[in-house]
């Protein structure tokens, strides 16, 4: 139970940051190198590596060094189901609110 709660707390800490959520979203579409990840966020490689480290500590991401390149992908296969569920929930929540904004824009001027 204690370990379970630590996992949850780490997952929440890791998800509290928009860049880290963006990284997870990107990795959901397939693995990427550190520099590929850094590019769309406009942050330094060092800054990105720190984010990846936090995600790795929470088992949300794993990295693998091949030659001179470090590849990142979504967490280990044995990643707690609950953590996956929380990540999915977080991403869904953001998307939901984005879509709500779009709906309100689309229906502006109409009677609710």
């Amino acid at each position: 139970m204690v370990q379970y709660q630590q996992q949850l707390d780490q997952a929440f800490g890791a998800l509290a940051d928009p860049t880290r959520r963006g990284i997870l979203e990107r990795l959901g579409r397939g693995r990427a190198t550190i520099s590929e990840l850094a590019e769309p966020f406009g942050i330094s490689l060092t800054g990105l590596k720190k984010h990846v480290q936090v995600l790795e500590d929470a088992d949300l991401v794993r990295t693998e060094k091949m030659g001179r390149t470090r590849w990142c992908s979504l967490g280990p296969q044995d990643l707690a189901e609950v953590q996956r569920w929380i990540v999915g929930y977080r991403l869904m929540l953001d998307e939901r609110l984005d879509r709500l904004g779009e709906l309100l824009e689309r229906t502006e001027g109409e009677n609710a």
């Binding site: 379970y4 609950v82 991403l91 879509r99 709500l100 309100l104 609710a112």
Partner: protein, 163 residues
């Protein structure tokens, strides 16, 4: 007289909550309406890639909701119970994914009129572990019991049937 209690959050809250804040360029009534109108839900609730269908939506305290989503990952459903419905200010409901039953999220949305035609929506999602869910249910039973006692007290005080 037994004291009625507010709904209980059993969890030690700490880090297990997700809080968001968004400002929408629309009046508060319209934003609130999007949360409680079964015709609007399919237009925004859930992931973009999925189609959402409202199976059940009984928007009142204690009323149940169930939404079915269909998309690239297949078909699944979410369900819960409305715990507080206070238009146009606040909505509280439980959220449970049928793919992982027993993990309950208590979602609270508050709607703040910014006075310039815009609305700030703050959401708070509090996660409960299965063990806590069980605790929550147990507490719910206690509340239910004390409510029953309260009604019995009232009945007795009103000189109702005691035979």
């Amino acid at each position: 007289m037994t004291q009625q209690q507010a709904p209980i959050h059993v969890a030690t809250e700490g880090d297990r909550e997700i809080v968001t804040e968004r400002v929408f360029d629309a009046p508060r009534e319209r934003v609130f309406q999007a949360f409680v109108d079964p015709e609007l839900i399919p237009q925004w609730w859930g992931r973009r890639a999925d189609t959402t269908t409202v199976d059940k939506m009984d928007v009142r305290e204690g009323g149940e909701w169930r939404f079915v989503t269909d998309g690239p990952d297949g078909n699944t459903a979410f369900r819960g119970v409305y715990r507080a419905v206070q238009p146009p200010e606040r909505l509280e409901q439980t959220f449970e994914w049928e793919g992982m039953p027993g993990h309950i999220v208590v979602e609270t949305a508050t709607f703040e009129d910014l006075g310039d035609g815009r609305t700030k929506v703050s959401t708070r999602s509090l996660f409960h572990t299965t063990e806590e869910r069980d605790g929550m249910l147990a507490s719910g039973m206690e509340i239910g019991l004390s409510e029953s006692y309260e009604r019995l007290d009232e009945l007795l005080a009103a000189g109702g049937p005691v035979d």
